[in-house]
């Protein structure tokens, strides 16, 4: 093991293989429409615009489209993220004041590779390095809330307007919630051992020791690992989406959960908290709900509640935060999501 930091260079960049993979990807993406039209309407002989034909076509078309989008996005994002690390982010945030610190923390929360299972050491490391509590919380809120896979899939399914809206509202929410929580001086509700822990040893920055083939390899492995984990959720989500697409009447949700119904957003958020899914698994469902008239604000609020407020993450954070702080955290983020939902229902 060489300990000397290697600067990222283009040495060994596997350009030919990547170009070939990209060409295959584009060909599959382009060809799927005509292929499934032929398969469903000609080979299977299902009549166009019957419920069954619509549902089957939606299921096949969306499965291939979403899997292709995921493969491309996860790969690109993982390679990009290999240049960032919790250690680098922490060094950038150390000693920052509230305000500018919260904005930087929320932005870095989006791009720093981070799994909820390392939330505890990351949290302790931030606090030990002198990052203010509110700034640390901005990072912890933005990290799951603005999920870059969800961002690119929103772009693929709804267009750039909705994707930009999601990015802007998620970042704003993380900044504001972190500033509010920081102002409340909640340090007394952090478990005391956190403040006694000292960072020791030589800090190893995982983002600085990689070669290009290693970064590409990480991308390939991440694609396999995420798809291997989420495919059941994905199929259930697309299956439900297909059923909704085929059988739920047009504008069904417009009647029961349209923008004029003030209960729609709170109900969507409450339903979203116990549901814990990868953002990728929830999006096919979200797409079908929106197609049947569920308002965009309600749809986004539902998705944010599913990814940002999850029970397993609360249980992990309980190791470092007292229950009252977790309660305040859920309340502040929950109110932020509600406000986002109402705002977009009113504006869009």
């Amino acid at each position: 093991m060489k300990t000397a930091a290697r600067a990222p260079s283009l040495g060994g960049f596997p350009a030919v293989r990547l170009a070939f993979a990209a060409a295959v990807w584009v060909a599959l993406y382009v060809v799927k429409g005509p292929v499934f039209d032929w398969l469903v309407y000609d080979a299977l002989g299902l009549a166009r615009s019957t419920r069954l034909a619509d549902a089957v076509h939606f299921f096949l078309f969306d499965t291939v489209k979403i899997v292709l989008l995921l493969v491309g996005i996860i790969f690109a994002v993982t390679v990009l993220r290999s240049f960032f690390s919790v250690e680098r982010t922490r060094a950038l945030l150390g000693g920052r004041r509230e305000g500018a610190g919260n904005v930087l923390a929320a932005g870095l929360g989006v791009v720093t590779p981070f799994c909820s299972c390392s939330a505890v050491p990351a949290f302790i490391g931030f606090v030990a390095a002198g990052v203010p509590l509110g700034v640390t919380l901005s990072f912890l809120i933005a990290s799951p809330m603005v999920n870059e896979i969800a961002l690119v899939m929103l772009f693929g399914l709804f267009g750039w307007g909705i994707a930009a809206l999601y990015l802007a509202s998620g970042l704003t929410l993380a900044v504001v919630a972190g500033m509010v929580l920081g102002r409340l001086r909640l340090e007394r509700w952090v478990e005391p051992f956190v403040f006694e822990t000292r960072l020791g040893g030589q800090v190893l920055d995982p983002s600085r020791q990689l070669t290009w083939p290693e970064r590409v390899q990480m991308g390939v492995e991440e694609v396999k690992s995420i798809l291997g984990k989420i495919w059941p959720y994905l199929l259930v989500g697309i299956g439900l989406g297909a059923a909704i697409h085929g059988w739920v009447p047009q504008s069904f949700f417009l009647r029961y959960a349209g923008p004029s119904n003030p209960l729609a957003v709170p109900v969507a958020v409450l339903l979203g908290i116990p549901l814990y899914s990868n953002a990728a698994g929830i999006l096919p469902l979200v797409e079908a709900l929106h197609a049947k008239g569920l308002a965009m604000g309600t749809t986004l609020a539902f998705m944010m509640a599913v990814v940002a407020l999850s029970l397993p993450e609360m249980i992990i954070l309980r190791r470092v935060l007292k229950p009252r702080l977790i309660g305040v955290y859920v309340a502040v983020v929950g109110v932020g999501i509600l406000a986002t939902g109402f705002l977009f229902n009113a504006v869009l």
Partner: protein
Amino acid sequence: MTIKVLGSGCPNCQRLESNVRLALENTGMEATVEKVTDYGSILGYGVSSTPALVVDEKVVLAGRVPSPQQLESLLRGA
């Protein structure tokens, strides 16, 4: 050689541990493999991206799970 796997016991930490054991088997190297799950000790090594790998009290890897083949060359060089 003493190898420590640092992490709270999440799926990634378990994958790293089993990959390390595979790499040791393949190379025929002798080492004791320990798990460190206490957050104070993990931070004490300067690690805040788990899982991480410590070989003879030196951090050689943090925040990712390499394949057994990559671990083999890493352990040979350690």
